[in-house]
Point group: C2
Chain length 579, copies 2
């Protein structure tokens, strides 16, 4: 609990900044003994378990919003400067960590912050800013930003605080405390579209009445490195392994948008609210098509773009319209599948416009795409009708009852309109992989403490028969452990291509930076500890194995064209965390 | 499971009628050995546990809708002909039994039916009727009744099937599968306002695409009595004890509406979304005021009215308007508090019009009253604005997004509009007793497997200090056991005044009717077994002690005028079922 933290009076000595939005008290504390080896998702889980009442109301006074840079954050190591954001999820009711690229993690690390904890109940409904600087934290009024989208908000804040700040901010979705709201972060070009998307953490930030956190690292410095020689060597090895990996070249050419063809090949491309696994319009939303469009259009368009300073993968892009004018950045596979094939939409131009809107609203494009899919099944839009989908996003912006229903995500839409086919687990929508066709990912969706989420353990690249229920639990377990580990390091999952090829570099980087003596299995050690902490939080919050299941209809409704059902036995699902 | 039932081919031999709405197969089975001692709520719980997958989707193919007359039903024993309806609740996700007076229980018993089980997934979205007769069960089309309110529906069905039938039917709320929908039953005067209200069982009936169940007991007979002499003697003793009880005289004069003064006296009258326990307009919604109004108005008005044939308590009423024309029957305390003081409304004329509307929609007036209270806190209506409340009920009738939100109940309204003060437990709204001021009832709300529900264990009449957290767990436990027992007998809770004064009559009535040899503690034996079965179902469905809690805000927000918080310790709450 908070009492265990060592207190100090100045910002300089503390790596844990604790901000109470009710009393305006700000404390600078040390990370407790025994927690030093954690960062990112692992540190979120540790704080959740020890510092947050697991049964608390997610939008009430006892929940806390936690920002933790990963362990490797602070040195622009390629793809390893991610920020984890956590709290009790208003969407799932369980432990939640969502991470993002951009510059927030790096800037927090430059201020020496290992964890920023926002707690308490605001005394007023007026929005504020939280400004973090070397001298400490302070509040500023932000009533003038109320209701603004994240693009306009970011633009005003950059003008007010200068081009070097990092921002973590919410849009109207977070202000309305919608369960689909995330927290946006600036990318290296100050575009506020690197979203800690999942689980409704934007609503938690909204409940604390913070419109944005402004991080000004001026006067800060990179975290110390205990053994610079070892560090440089490991960094070199890692970077080479990453650059040499064939998959990384695919990311650079096509980004994540390379996935539609692959997913469709397995019969696993979510189509029309997960009622099919293949989409007749797939080719025009494919990465290959996307790349050609961007090359043809030129102008602002970029086929390869880095979200974090120093990233060598550069999987991002800038999507330009027919005149080459930027529409949105990035346009990624999850959005392409959930707001494209999942809605029967075969135009990337339409998907890009939808994407800009959800970004500006500060909402998770996966959750909202899935919500629109369920809404379509309820008769609220026709498959493929992008104009109507845009209208529905405008309902969210207006805060109408229908808009609020949509903004709370797929499960809420299903409940309100009586739709049984809701592709969610623990209240959180599935991402762009049909779990009946990619069964290992189905195991991950079912069992991860986070609610359905491919980033917790995607299995589509494994060389297995994805339709065979056998072996999927082992596959998911390994992937879940590794991903929890990467999320604790602050490493992008794609950095795993480099770490996978040179696993000893994780050990070396950590030992070199922190002066530790960890072993070669540190990734799995961190991953297992993180999962264990999250599971324990969820148990205290009231979760049971009944929550570790896919939606009932997926066990009896076949999904064409390959027509599998989800048939990994419940007893096997209950063995995922039995390692 | 179903396989354990003994099958037969004719209606005559079976007391369990099992109707599959998908295959249209109808089976007539015997009650399994070992279940014969159960009826009503206890038999619902037994079927739920053995026959329903606890983790199933409440509105999906695996849930079942179960009708069970109580053990004493069939002989017009005063206040003991209630029908229990059960299933997995779409509102709470747990075991649900809601019971009602009227004629459904009696007519089912005359057909020899101990349990009617409706199961399967309908093949078509078209509404049907299920007609039960001596010769068996059959379907009839009912598309012509789609969207009709329960009053018009009942009137048409009585015309079609004759004045002697009993009906169990749903309104637009059930058709829309709203979680606040109940199942209406005819009273002895064919008014369809005896509602099995709580937990959304009307939505389950809607999911099975049944608009009504028509029960024609022609040719049926009263259930056999093993020892008529003993039965008549026990009946006489019970009836006298009931008639002599002073509380019964109060029910006859004032009905349940006697309660506002009493609740307010304890600081426990829910006022303005449970933000206060006393209402400045209480006198004009009191039972004393109600009685004088009805006496003054005359015409259709009746101050005392029986809902079931043979009831000697006659706690019901007919509320007439200024010209004496019937507005609604009955007008009861729960509606008066939830749609009166809870909305800041001090006019019984307004409450009566709201009551007619929710009745006609086939919705639970407690859940909808609480939903409107939360909606008022969200700014959707002003306190006391009955006209706006009527408009909001019309939104439900129109099936607008806002109407659907309201129809799903208080928790859904709170979630959609970001209101923390939601007076619900397990997703079900509290009834007319503020749990911070009547703490024993707070313990019941928190811990009953049914979700917040005073009928599971009201403690307001106990001679204790209701503000003192000590002893409330014992008080609630006793009350929960007794009430589960009464619900298993099919006895109205008010019959408990008679049984309480002559407890041996329960033993004698059961032994005389069934030829059993049960002891004097049979009420508690049945009550404990019922609660144990319900708890086990809930555990399988994923409930934990985290679900046995009042809303968080009630633990830190004082409720004026007496300003208590709810402070019965969690550890004590966890001991309620430890007997």
């Amino acid at each position: 609990m908070a009492d265990q933290m060592m207190h100090s009076t100045g910002a300089g000595a503390g790596s844990v900044w604790r901000v109470n939005v009710g009393t305006d008290e700000i404390q600078y504390q040390s990370l407790p003994d025994g927690w030093q080896h954690l960062g990112g998702r692992g540190l979120v889980a540790r704080f959740l378990l020890d510092d947050v009442i697991a049964t608390c109301e997610p939008l009430g006074p006892y929940n806390k919003l936690i920002f933790t840079p990963g362990l490797l954050v602070g040195h622009m190591l390629s793809s390893c400067d991610r920020i984890s954001v956590g709290g009790k999820s208003p969407l799932t009711g369980g432990a939640k960590e969502a991470n993002a690229g951009g510059t927030t993690g790096l800037q927090l690390a430059l201020l020496g912050i290992r964890a920023l904890i926002i707690e308490g109940a605001p005394r007023s409904s007026e929005l504020r800013l939280l400004v973090l600087e070397k001298s400490g934290a302070r509040f500023e009024p932000a009533a003038d930003l109320a209701g603004l989208g994240v693009y306009e908000t970011a633009s005003r804040l950059v003008e007010r605080f200068g081009p070097k700040v990092a921002l973590a901010l919410i849009g109207p979705g977070g202000e309305m405390q919608l369960s689909g709201a995330g927290i946006q972060n600036l990318d290296k070009d100050r575009v506020p579209a690197r979203i800690a998307a999942r689980g409704g953490l934007g609503a938690v930030m909204g409940s604390k009445k913070l419109k944005a956190i402004v991080i000004n690292a001026e006067g800060g410095q990179k975290p110390p490195i205990a053994d610079p020689v070892l560090y440089r060597q490991a960094q070199k090895t890692f970077t080479k392994a990453l650059m040499d990996h064939p998959q990384v070249h695919i990311y650079r050419d096509y980004g994540t948008a390379a996935m539609p063809r692959m997913a469709q090949g397995f019969g696993g491309l979510p189509t029309r609210n997960f009622s099919a696994g293949a989409f007749e319009g797939m080719e025009t939303i494919s990465g290959e098509h996307l790349r050609q469009m961007l090359l043809d259009r030129g102008g602002d368009s970029e086929t390869s773009h880095a979200c974090m300073p120093g990233c060598t993968i550069r999987c991002s892009n800038i999507f330009g319209d027919e005149d080459g004018k930027a529409v949105v950045s990035p346009l990624e596979y999850e959005t392409i599948s959930l707001m494209g094939s999942n809605l029967g939409i075969d135009s990337l131009d339409v998907v890009a416009r939808l994407n800009w809107q959800v970004n500006d609203l500060g909402l998770d494009s996966i959750e909202i795409g899935a919500a629109l899919g369920v809404a379509a099944e309820a008769g609220l839009l026709h498959w493929g009708d992008g104009q109507r989908a845009l209208q529905l996003l405008d309902e969210i912006r207006q805060g109408t009852p229908l808009g609020r229903i949509l903004g709370h995500g797929a499960s809420t839409v299903g409940k309100i309109f009586g739709v049984l086919r809701v592709p969610s687990v623990k209240g959180q929508a599935m991402s762009g992989y049909e779990p009946r066709a990619i069964k290992g990912t189905g195991v991950t969706y079912a069992t991860t403490p986070q609610g359905a989420d491919h980033t917790c353990g995607l299995t589509i690249r494994a060389k297995v028969n994805h339709l065979d229920p056998k072996g999927q639990v082992d596959l998911s377990r390994t992937s879940q452990i590794n991903n929890a580990g990467y999320d604790t390091l602050g490493a992008c999952v794609f950095a795993g291509n480099g770490f996978g090829a040179a696993p000893e570099t994780i050990r070396d980087l950590l030992n070199a930076r922190y002066g530790w003596q960890v072993g070669a299995d540190i990734l799995q050690v961190l991953g297992r500890e993180t999962l264990k902490l999250e599971r324990e939080f969820n148990i205290r919050a009231g979760f049971t194995k009944a929550d570790d299941r896919l939606p009932e209809y997926m066990t009896y409704e076949q999904v064409p064209p390959l027509n599998p059902v989800f048939d990994v036995p419940d007893e096997e699902l209950d063995q995922v965390f039995n390692w």
